[in-house]
């Protein structure tokens, strides 16, 4: 997992790259594109309807980044700054395409439990109320990393509400720190964690259904 973004060291690490970009260093720019472009497209796809629209939004983001790089003040890590631009452009595009999700939706907690209540013994149980009715099944690692299961994981993430999807993509798929995600999406520490929790819980439920279905004869 990457180190927390806003720390001084991370910001200093970006400085030579920012200087190189300002000076027109093509290799530095292509290196940055190589590192970020695919993740940006995956991220944008969480907001817009088509792959083509996601590519458009990402290219607009690169354009905005090039326009803004001279004024970039290094108050956030370069990557968080770029993804912050991307998140804004992707939301704007989604609004235009009638897939509008207001920013406030990113703050919304749907309040559903991590695990369905039916998985637990009822509170009225004389001794074990609130404990597992039946322990969850351990997942065989090989199966979890099979292409088929991974496709389910991807699909489960795609079906999440937008805020949850944006957070889990950056945290668990791209491997960002919570600080970077908070900066890029402008969400509070607590909301970031709540969205991550809901997202992981929902995805887990879907994987569990899939794995259990597969393990039945």
């Amino acid at each position: 997992m990457p180190a927390a973004a806003p720390d001084v060291q991370a910001l200093l690490q970006d400085l030579p790259l920012v200087e190189a970009l300002r000076a027109g260093d093509e290799r530095a720019f292509l290196g940055l594109v190589g590192r970020l472009h695919a993740g940006m497209v995956r991220f944008a796809r969480g907001f817009v309807n088509t792959d083509a629209a996601a590519e458009d939004v990402v290219q607009d983001t690169w354009a905005a980044m090039l326009e803004g790089i001279d004024g970039f003040e290094g108050r956030s890590a370069l990557r968080s700054w770029i993804f912050g631009i991307l998140a804004n452009l992707a939301r704007t595009r989604a609004t235009r395409d009638q897939r509008a999700v207001p920013l406030s939706a990113l703050e919304h907690d749907d309040g559903e439990p991590a695990v369905d209540a039916s998985e637990f013994l009822p509170p009225s149980h004389p001794r074990w109320g609130g404990h597992w009715a039946k322990y969850p099944e351990a997942w065989p690692e090989q199966q979890l990393l099979s292409q088929e299961t991974l496709a389910h994981v991807r699909a489960a993430i795609d079906r999440l509400p937008q805020g949850q999807r944006a957070v889990i993509r950056l945290r668990d798929v791209e491997g960002w720190s919570s600080e970077e995600v908070r900066e890029a999406l402008s969400v509070s520490e607590v909301n970031q964690r709540v969205l991550l929790h809901r997202a992981r819980s929902r995805v887990r439920r879907e994987i569990a259904h899939h794995v259990e279905r597969r393990s039945k004869p």
Binding site: F29, Q59, V115, W132, Y135, H197, R200, R204
Partner: protein, 85 residues
Amino acid sequence: MSRALPADLDCVVAVEQVTDYLEGALPLHARTEFERHLVTCPGCVIYLRQIQAQIAAAASLAAERPAPEEVKRKLLAMFRASRGI
């Protein structure tokens, strides 16, 4: 299913604390209580492992697909124009 000791934390509560636990966001006393619960509850240990395995699986979705040459050419042209090269 045998359970030797009554646990002090409900599993219903414990599963809601898993993310806070992994994020290091539980206050010390809650963290201790959570870990004590894990010692007595195989179900919640499996649950925690499932979540950890899921995080690892999600990370493998990022397997890099390099930007297509055509896109790189376009971006490079954009870069040159922006720098006046």
